[in-house]
Symmetry: C2
């Protein structure tokens, strides 16, 4: 699973590189649809993370089976090829509703390695979630940090 997760995230860079010179190639409709798909993908990450977060914080009882389901869903989402979402020209300056900062698509963007760190943290959670509460809590710290790896530097704050 780990390899396939990393493959999924590496496509963010491939997409940026492959399409970097193709400004205006994607139609407005394609760009809007890419932003919506990206946000749907993030919603599903958040939905499954909230299950794990509630257990980690003791808001709900630890349930090994439910934790494994949520972690497995995160892994499936992380394994998906997102290259079709992260189109150049779909940044927060270009598409209404997008919070993806333009710096994502610049040459020295660290988005690929931040994505890889997230994928590693998801992979660790996949093992930890069904083990016990302490393991889940430990994995949750790294996973939360890895979310911040992109959100802190590459996501526009809400107005």
């Amino acid at each position: 699973m780990r390899l396939s997760i990393l493959a999924g995230f590496s496509t963010i860079i491939i997409s940026a590189a492959a399409l970097a010179g193709a400004d205006g190639h994607a139609s407005d409709k394609m760009l809007k649809s890419a932003v919506e798909a990206r946000q749907a993908h993030m919603d599903l990450f958040a939905f499954n993370l909230s299950t794990l977060g509630a257990m980690a914080k003791g808001e709900v009882d630890y349930d090994a089976a439910a934790a494994s389901v949520a972690a497995g869903n995160l892994a499936a989402l992380a394994s998906m090829d997102q290259s079709t979402y992260w189109l150049p020209g779909s940044d927060s300056d270009s598409v209404e509703g997008s919070r993806a900062l333009p710096v994502i698509w610049t040459a020295d963007s660290k988005i690929g390695e931040r994505g890889a760190a997230f994928a590693e943290a998801v992979s660790a959670m996949e093992t930890a979630a069904g083990t016990d509460l302490a393991s889940l809590q430990a994995a949750m710290g790294d996973l939360g940090k890895s979310c911040g790896g992109c959100h802190d530097d590459y996501r526009k704050p809400r107005d």
Copy 2:
């Protein structure tokens, strides 16, 4: 992959059965969040299906790599455990914005087998998409029909 896809969809039935007597157990917030997650999941199916559909109809040139990416993403989505989305009490009569008809959660609901048929069609598309255009087109017919398997009988028409 096929087994894991079927496992993902069978959880719809398990969820309905396991929680059938638990009316009111899920909070309004949980139900709303379940509906939103379901819709995000459907948006991602639609996004990837639209890539395959455009090729099948000849609106864009056939591209084996792009078709395989889209089909692989459908398979990843179909493999996810959706039991946490399909909560009893999240039907179109109970939650604003939900189009999931209450009949989904009745004893003689065919939603499980319709979901399994969809999963089979996704699995066939995963093989066909990267082969050639004719194979993709053939698989698209079955896949479209299997979408209808749930949407025709279990989804409320738009107002």
